[in-house]
């Protein structure tokens, strides 16, 4: 991870600009960004750990207490999806998995999240799970998608 972060230095005129890319590098490998990684990133980027933590905390995207599930599934709740049953899909998935948005199943398989507009309104309602966009969901096809997660 350190080498991957250092490889980005030449792209930007400041080290601080590597903050978000570095957080993504850590998050992709660990599925969270523990406080130890914050300190390490800060050292690499010649920042105070508080500066890195400040940026991280703004986004609400990076988990810090424990890794998210093996699949992180974002179900859209914004207007185009809501008009075509997105909220029903989300609450159905909460029921199926026994979790609330933001929570991870006990077996660590899935973290369910709500999303604000995935930019795939032509396929509403939709879900982004890992790098896969699941389109035109119904409660039934959402269940099928859930079963496909490793």
């Amino acid at each position: 991870m350190v080498e991957a972060i250092k490889a980005l230095f030449s792209r930007y005129p400041t080290r601080q600009a590597v903050t978000l890319p570095a957080l993504h590098i850590v998050n992709e490998r660990l599925r969270y960004v523990p406080i130890g990684a914050i300190v390490e990133i800060a050292r690499l980027l010649e920042l105070a750990p508080a500066q890195v933590q400040d940026t991280l905390s703004f986004y609400g995207f990076f988990k810090q207490d424990e890794p998210h599930g093996r699949t992180r599934a974002w179900v859209c709740r914004s207007i185009s999806c809501a008009l075509r049953g997105g909220e029903e899909v989300l609450s159905h998935m909460c029921h199926t998995l026994g979790v609330k948005p933001g929570e991870t199943t006990a077996d660590g398989r899935v973290t369910l999240e709500f999303a604000e507009c995935l930019g795939a309104c032509d396929f509403a309602p939709c879900m982004l799970a890992g790098d896969t966009l699941h389109k035109n969901l119904t409660p039934e096809t959402a269940d099928q998608a859930l079963r496909s997660f490793k």
Binding site: R11, Y12, P13, T14, Q16, A17, V18, T19, L20, P21, L23, H24, L45, Q51, D54, T55, S57, F58, Y59, G60, F61, F62, W74, R77, S78, I79, S80, A82, L83, R84, A115, E116, C117, L118, G119, A120, C121, D122, F123, A124, L128, G130, D131, L133
Partner: protein, 451 residues
């Protein structure tokens, strides 16, 4: 109506449309070769300026004019930032360009950098677009290998690097100075302007921020000329010397209660009803439209009677909407409760307010609290006045916030309540028959959980 021949979307249905070989086989990088061989940077600025191209990201600022705000003879570096943080609910046209025709976008970026003498471009891409990330990176790699990027492009003196920078799921990063803060590794709090990015932008250097669809238009303008661009769309208002008109093709997004959701290319200025009926196959399930969002949720609402409004830069504003925005039309059929619509809108903006300016942070949060209260059957008619008071007082138009996110939060509130007031009143009276007339203040601090 004869269907308009697509230009920006001409290639998206070709097999492997995202690859360099297919792009080149349909005339790709011809504009770049022409510019480097025959045009000085100022010539590229001039053709874009005389095309009257206006930014496609939402604000509609003339692109060529924006470029001329860069300081003359600046020693550099000058940065180009491409805003691919497309997050406005209902909007997905940039995604389609990046996924299906990334080279058209990249050619436009290279031309725009040549025009503005930028040697580094960052594409700020929202997190939710993994396929765009893959396709753009593959296209950039192909360009380096083919000599379209890197040092001495196509044997000229011009050099350029393009880097992808991935966001982290925050709507505010689509605001151009929020984007710059995020790029620099800080929280994405928009900056007070002036100074504008052209003077002091990324890393405190002169910077241009352009949208994905805008740079795709630049490719076509350099290819086909300013006169071609101005042959499409709505001319400038002759009574307003400052109106740059609404020229060129536009990628309209259509979603919601529509038979054929999708991204459709049409001349600027088609009406919302034409888009729904002629492109979208009409409202779904044989129903009627009750309302439509004209250009992303922050632009407000058109009523059914207002659907003949032309979707050009001036049209939606004439019927009380905020503007054309991203030209993303979302259709609401006759079964939709406007209370539900407004709750969804308020919840979005409460979640996405960056929290920097108090009127926006508090205004979006309390408007959601009030919509929650109304939906819980505890609404009061006075809540409508309170919501309108918030709607009228948050944003850069009333002058209380740094950026326009709050205006976007305010417009759905103002349009929904002012255009559908009877429905809100009826809902409140029906669900709260004993308390709807209550006007006493509700203790607020108990709601915050802070005391």
């Amino acid at each position: 109506m004869a269907q308009f021949e697509p230009i920006l979307l001409a290639n998206i249905n070709r097999h492997d449309s995202h690859t360099l070989s297919v792009y080149e086989s349909t005339g790709g990088y011809r504009a770049l070769r022409k510019a480097l061989a025959q045009m000085q940077p100022v010539d590229v600025v001039d053709v874009v300026k005389s095309s009257n191209l206006r930014g496609r990201g939402g604000a509609g600022f003339p692109t060529g004019l924006k470029w001329t705000f860069l300081p003359k003879d600046h020693p550099g570096p000058i940065y180009m930032c491409i805003n691919a943080d497309e997050s406005e609910p209902g909007t997905f046209n940039n995604r389609i360009l990046m996924e299906e025709d990334p080279h058209q976008v990249i050619e436009g970026i290279i031309l725009s950098c040549y025009a503005t003498r930028a040697a580094t471009a960052y594409i700020y891409l929202r997190y939710e677009y993994p396929l765009s990330l893959t396709r753009l990176q593959a296209a950039i790699d192909e360009c380096y290998a083919a000599g379209y990027l890197g040092k001495g492009i196509l044997g000229s003196q011009f050099s350029l690097d393009i880097y992808l920078h991935r966001g982290a799921a925050a709507y505010i990063c689509g605001e151009e100075t929020g984007l710059l803060e995020s790029l620099e590794g800080r929280r994405a709090w928009p900056r007070i302007k002036p100074p504008f990015p052209a003077i002091e932008g990324a890393f405190r250097k002169p910077t241009v921020v352009n949208n994905i669809e805008t740079v795709a238009c630049v490719t076509q303008i350099v290819n086909r000329g300013a006169d071609w661009f101005k042959s499409i769309g709505v001319p400038s208002d002759p009574n307003n010397p400052r109106d740059p008109g609404s020229y060129g093709p536009k990628l309209y997004c259509l979603s919601g209660h529509i038979n054929k959701p999708g991204c459709y290319e049409a001349p600027l200025g088609i009406t919302c009803r034409q888009l729904i009926d002629e492109y979208g196959g009409g409202v779904w399930k044989g129903r009627k439209a009750k309302a439509a969002i004209p250009g992303g949720i922050s632009m407000g609402l058109l009523t059914e009677a207002e659907l003949d409004t032309p979707l050009d830069f001036a049209g939606p504003g004439k019927v009380g909407c905020l503007g054309l925005g991203t030209a993303a039309v979302v259709v609401l059929d006759e079964t939709v409760s406007m209370v539900d619509f407004l709750h969804n809108s308020c919840r979005f903006f409460q979640h996405e307010s960056c929290g920097q300016c108090t009127p926006c942070r508090e205004g979006t949060a309390w408007s959601l609290e009030m919509l929650n209260r109304i939906k819980a059957g505890k609404g009061r008619l006075k809540d409508l006045e309170l919501l309108l008071e918030i709607g009228d007082s948050i944003g850069i138009i009333p002058g209380t916030t740094i950026c326009g996110l709050a205006d976007g939060a305010a417009w759905p509130i103002k349009n929904a309540i002012r255009k559908f007031r009877a429905e809100f009143e009826e809902y409140i009276k029906k669900t709260n028959p004993k308390g709807y007339g209550e006007t006493k203040a509700v203790p607020a601090l108990a709601k915050t959980g802070a005391h």
